[in-house]
C-alpha cells in the first residue's frame, strides 16, 4: 500500500532529523524525510533540499510538509507551488513535533493527504477531555497496563494505529480524563503508567472487534 509521505522543514538539520527519527519510530512504514538547515551547514532553510525531499517522500499518495518557523513555512509553500502537480503536496499548519507524530501515525494507518493534514493540525488543539457521551457504550472493557512504559508514545501510537481501520468509535478513560483512542496525543495526554487501569467504551458496527484488538495489545504488553 502506498502511504502519504512526510517532509519536515526546519531551520536546523538536527531538529528535522530528530523529529523524523521520532515519527519513524511510531510509523515504520511511512517515508519521513528531514529537510533542515542550509546546504553548506548552519541554520536556515534550503529550498532545493525541500524540493528534493518532497520528491523522495512521494510514493504516489502525495506528501504533507510540516515546518518549524516563519521562513520554513514560506520555503515549504514555495516548494509546493513549484511542483509539476502542486496538489501532490500540502503544507500543514501544525506544531512540528506533535504534528509530525500525529501525521505519521495517520499516514501509517492509510489515511489520505487530507486526513493526514487534519491529524497534524488537530495535534495543535488542546487534548480532547470531553465528558463521556450520553448514549451507552456497546462494548466496554477495563484493561490494566502491565508494560513498563505505560501508554507512552510508542504504545499510544500502536493502539491508535490498531484501531484506525475499525468501524467503531472508541473512547479511553483514565480517572477524570477521556480521549478518543485514535488520537495518539490524546492517549499520551492521559499519562497512563504501568499498573493503571484504562476503561474503554466502544460504539459502532465493529465495537467488539475494537475492544478485542485493544485487549490483545495490552495483554501482549504492546510487544515490549
Amino acid at each position: 500500500m502506498s502511504r502519504v509521505g512526510l517532509v519536515l522543514v526546519s531551520h536546523s538539520a538536527k531538529l528535522a532529523e530528530g523529529v523524523a527519527e521520532l515519527a519513524a519510530e511510531m510509523a515504520p512504514e511511512v517515508t519521513v524525510v528531514p529537510a533542515g538547515g542550509l546546504a553548506e551547514g548552519g541554520l536556515g532553510t534550503d529550498y532545493d533540499a525541500v524540493v528534493a525531499a518532497v520528491q523522495r517522500a512521494d510514493s504516489g499518495s502525495g506528501v504533507v510538509l510540516l515546518y518549524d518557523l516563519g521562513s520554513a513555512q514560506m520555503t515549504a509553500e514555495l516548494a509546493t507551488e513549484s511542483l509539476a502537480d502542486p496538489n501532490a503536496a500540502v503544507v500543514a499548519d501544525a506544531p512540528l513535533v506533535e504534528g509530525a507524530i500525529a501525521a505519521a501515525v495517520a499516514a501509517q494507518g492509510g489515511a489520505d493527504r487530507t486526513a493526514v493534514v487534519y491529524a497534524a493540525a488537530s495535534a495543535g488543539a488542546a487534548p480532547d477531555l470531553a465528558e463521556a457521551a450520553e448514549s451507552p457504550a456497546e462494548e466496554t472493557a477495563e484493561l490494566t497496563l502491565r508494560n513498563d512504559v505505560g501508554l507512552h508514545a510508542r504504545p499510544a501510537a500502536l493502539l491508535a494505529r490498531t484501531l484506525a481501520d475499525v468501524d467503531a468509535e472508541v473512547r479511553v478513560r483514565l480517572g477524570d480524563s477521556e480521549v478518543d483512542a485514535r488520537s495518539v496525543l490524546g492517549l499520551m495526554s492521559l499519562g497512563a503508567r504501568q499498573g493503571d487501569t484504562l476503561r474503554l467504551d466502544a460504539r459502532g458496527a465493529q465495537a467488539a472487534e475494537a475492544i478485542r484488538r485493544a485487549k490483545e495489545l495490552v495483554e501482549t504488553n504492546f510487544g515490549e
Binding site: L38, G42, L43, G44, T45, D46, Y47, D48, G70, S71, M74, T75, E77, L78
Partner: protein, 210 residues
C-alpha cells in the same frame, strides 16, 4: 535605456551592486531587530544572480526576472529568499513573453510582485515589513503612469520615492511579522531591513532607467 532583456539585466546588475554597497547597513538594521543576516543573505543571493545572468542570457525581461527569482530562492536563506523569490517570479509571470517592458507591464509587474509578497508573508501595510515599502511604491507608480509624458524612468522614480517614505514609516511601527515581531514595542525606533532593501532595489532600478 531600452527595457528589453539586456536593459533589464543591466538594472538587476545595478541592483546587485547597490546591495553589495549597502550590505553593512542592512546587517546593522537587522542586528537591531533580527538576526543580522539580511545584508549577508541578500548580498550572497544577488552575487549568484549576477553570475547566473553572465553565464546564460535570457531572451526577454520576464526570463531575466525568472532567473533572478530562482537564484534568490535557492541562494538566500531566511525569509528574504522566498519573499523576494516570489516577488520576482510573479513579476516575471506578469510580464509574460513581451520583449520590452512598457509602462503597463511595469505597473503590472510591481502589482504582481506586491501581491506575491503579501500572499507569501501574509503581511499587510503596517506590519513593518517589505510590504510597507512595496505597497506605496505600487500606488505611486500607478499614479505616475497616468501622468502626461510618463515614462519608465519617471514611474520608477515615483515608486522609489514612495518606497523610501514607506521604509521610514516602519521606524514608528511595532512589527507584527517575522522575527522582529518577537521584540514587540522594543523594535520601535528601527527601520525594517526588508523595507529598506526593497527601497534600495527600487532606487537602483530607477537610477538604471534614467
Amino acid at each position: 535605456m531600452a527595457c528589453d532583456a539586456n536593459g533589464t539585466a543591466g538594472a538587476i546588475r545595478a541592483a546587485a551592486a547597490v546591495v553589495t554597497e549597502h550590505r553593512t547597513e542592512l546587517i546593522d538594521l537587522d542586528r537591531a531587530i533580527g538576526d543580522a543576516d539580511h545584508g549577508e543573505n541578500l548580498n550572497r543571493g544577488f552575487t549568484a544572480v549576477v553570475s547566473a545572468l553572465a553565464s546564460a542570457t535570457p531572451e526577454t525581461p520576464g526570463a531575466v526576472l525568472k532567473t533572478v527569482a530562482t537564484t534568490l530562492i535557492s541562494k538566500v536563506g531566511g525569509a528574504a529568499g522566498p519573499l523576494y523569490g516570489t516577488a520576482f517570479l510573479r513579476a516575471a509571470t506578469a510580464l509574460g513573453d513581451r520583449s520590452e517592458v512598457d509602462l503597463e507591464g511595469l505597473v503590472a509587474a510591481l502589482r504582481a510582485g506586491l501581491e506575491g509578497v503579501k500572499a507569501r508573508g501574509k503581511a499587510e501595510v503596517g506590519d513593518a515589513t517589505m510590504v510597507d515599502a512595496l505597497a506605496p511604491a505600487l500606488e505611486a507608480a500607478e499614479d505616475a503612469a497616468k501622468q502626461e509624458g510618463a515614462d519608465i524612468s519617471t514611474v520608477l522614480i515615483a515608486a522609489a520615492d514612495a518606497a523610501d517614505r514607506g521604509c521610514e514609516s516602519t521606524v514608528d511601527l511595532v512589527p507584527r511579522k517575522g522575527r522582529a515581531s518577537y521584540l514587540g514595542e522594543r523594535a520601535v525606533g528601527h527601520a525594517d531591513p526588508g523595507a529598506r532593501s526593497t527601497a534600495l532595489l527600487l532606487r537602483a532600478f530607477a537610477e538604471a532607467a534614467r
